[in-house]
Amino acid sequence: MSKASIGRQTTWVEKALRVALYTVLIIMATVYLMPFLVMLLTSLKDVEEIRTGTLLSLPSTLDLSAWSKAWGEACTGNNCGGISPYFLNSFQIVIPAVLISTLLGAINGYVISLWKFRGSDLFFAALLVGCFIPFQVILLPMARTLGWLGIANTTTGLVFVHVVYGVAFTTLFFRNFYQAIPGELVKAARLDGAGFFTIFYRIILPLSTPIIVVTVIWQFTQIWNDFLFGVAFSGFDTQPVTVALNNLVNTSFGGKEYNVDMAAAIIAALPTLAVYVLAGKYFVRGLTAGAVKG
């Protein structure tokens, strides 16, 4: 294709390719959207409609009873109070865990990139490995430890676990971000007599808003969506919503109520979906930050 032909006139071949391109992209978009659409449709039908209709048949009336049942009455295991208490548990776990791990990550990243000491790079490498170990390796010892600390089966215990294993990632995020800050900035501030915390608080933190947003969103999504720690370390009353959802779906008293299952699943997904819709840009940045350098 010579340069002159580009843009001057589009041949019918190019037009046909364009149409094919858009067709493929739209079909794929439909495929990605379909499961959520089916969940939504199913949650709005009653059991009879689900039995007689198909996945894509529309509900005859807008029936929200499955939603209220999922929220307040459905049975998860032996407990028939819906998933609302567990939804709140998740917030009780996520909020402190996100705040603490983000703060620790910021301080660690600050030290590792701007206050290097002997061994700090080595430690960073060691921490990096911690991002990637399969958590099965620490599951049992952690369960014993939580028992000794007296916080087994509590939300406090889960906060502790999420902070411990979240710090590796938060440190990585902040460290990569702070690497771009010139060392001269800190040097000059030190010559002016500013101390470790003053520099952090007055100079570094005000620069950190983007990476704080990325880290908070990443941690929120990770911890909210966690299932392994939740199922291993929580008690009956302290389960996060993912564990409760799984119990709800696998509880089989009488007939299967798929509409209630789907409503509960959407409720469990709503907070992270909302974050994604509202702050998608930062979510993607977090996803790619650990993956692609820069």
Partner: protein
């Protein structure tokens, strides 16, 4: 990130200055201390602890009677473990290949100055924001043979359509692949799209001037320059595959029988519900070995590349 190494020189001179031993000099170490302690204990200490347990005959509670490699021998004589490992091979292999393929193709398609690109990208990526438990729940409903996809096709007129993979021990592992690809392929697309946007525009112009068509330009110039993205994506995807636990728990619960177990589910079942702590620990160590086999070469090349920048 090109600026990473740029300022390390200036910091060295700073720490090389004669030290006043004040609180300020200790501060960095003091604030790092909690993380250092926690990392050493809760990552490395626990790793060693689990390694030790894998050499003992621990059952319901940890015991410290050493039995050498007995647990590993039992593990690899255990049919359920072999099924789990085989499943990981099938699941991981297909999951990675399909995600990479879809990711590259969708990224290239989306990179053709598409109208509403932002909206389409958002749709491709949203499953990544959802928990695997929700994904599993949704696909369990979609794939169930009585009311799900099979019935939809039959009602559409394909009367002999059969789709019972979810309850078929030979096929159930492919259900895991479908759900996991749905969840993660958009993420791979995002990785490649970011990579494509970073390719030097002059390079592409030069190729066009030399008479290369779009297809050749992608094959010969653009895709080869994305090798690091392929590498990262593969590491991340294999990492997701090895750690997969929640998807199985929600979608199949390991069934029918244990035909769709993955190693993570084997480990959990034996450690926490079947009182086989020694065996569970051995399986955890094998999982760790798999991850390290992939991770160490990757980190090595990453860190080395950084130093040479």
């Amino acid at each position: 990130m090109n600026t990473k190494a740029a300022n390390s020189g200036s910091r060295k001179t700073q720490s090389g200055r004669p030290a006043r031993l004040s609180l300020a000099d200790w501060m960095p170490k003091i604030v790092m201390a909690p993380t250092v302690v926690v990392t050493l204990v809760c990552i490395y200490g626990y790793m060693i602890w689990t390694a030790v347990l894998s050499f003992t005959n621990s059952r319901m509670l940890p015991s410290y009677k050493f039995v050498g490699l007995d647990q590993y021998e039992r593990l690899f004589n255990n049919d359920r473990w072999i099924v789990a490992l085989t499943n990981l091979g099938i699941f991981g292999g297909l999951f990675i290949l399909i995600c990479l393929f879809l990711g590259v193709v969708l990224a290239i398609f989306l990179d053709q100055k598409i109208r509403a690109e932002g909206a389409i990208r958002t749709i491709y990526l949203y499953p990544m924001a959802i928990s695997f438990i929700v994904t599993g729940t949704a696909w369990k409903w979609l794939l169930n043979p009585t009311n799900g996809f099979e019935k939809l096709m039959i009602d559409l007129g394909f009367e002999n359509f059969k789709f019972d993979w979810l309850i078929n021990p030979d096929m159930v592992v492919y259900c895991l692949v479908i759900a996991a690809v749905w969840q993660a392929s958009g993420f791979v697309m995002a990785l490649f799209l970011a990579g494509l946007r970073g390719v030097d525009g002059d390079l592409i112009k030069a190729a066009h001037l030399d008479g290369a068509n779009t297809f050749t330009t992608y094959r010969r110039i653009i895709l080869p320059s994305l090798k690091p993205v392929f590498f990262s994506a593969m590491v991340i995807l294999s990492h997701i595959a090895i750690k997969s636990f929640d998807l199985v728990a929600a979608l199949t619960n390991g069934g029918p029988g244990y035909s769709s177990d993955l190693p993570a589910n084997f480990m959990y079942a034996h450690t926490f519900t079947r009182s086989q702590v020694g065996l569970g620990s051995a399986s955890a160590m094998v999982m760790l070995g798999c991850v390290l086999a992939i991770l160490i070469p990757y980190l090595y090349s990453e860190l080395r590349g950084e130093r040479h920048e």
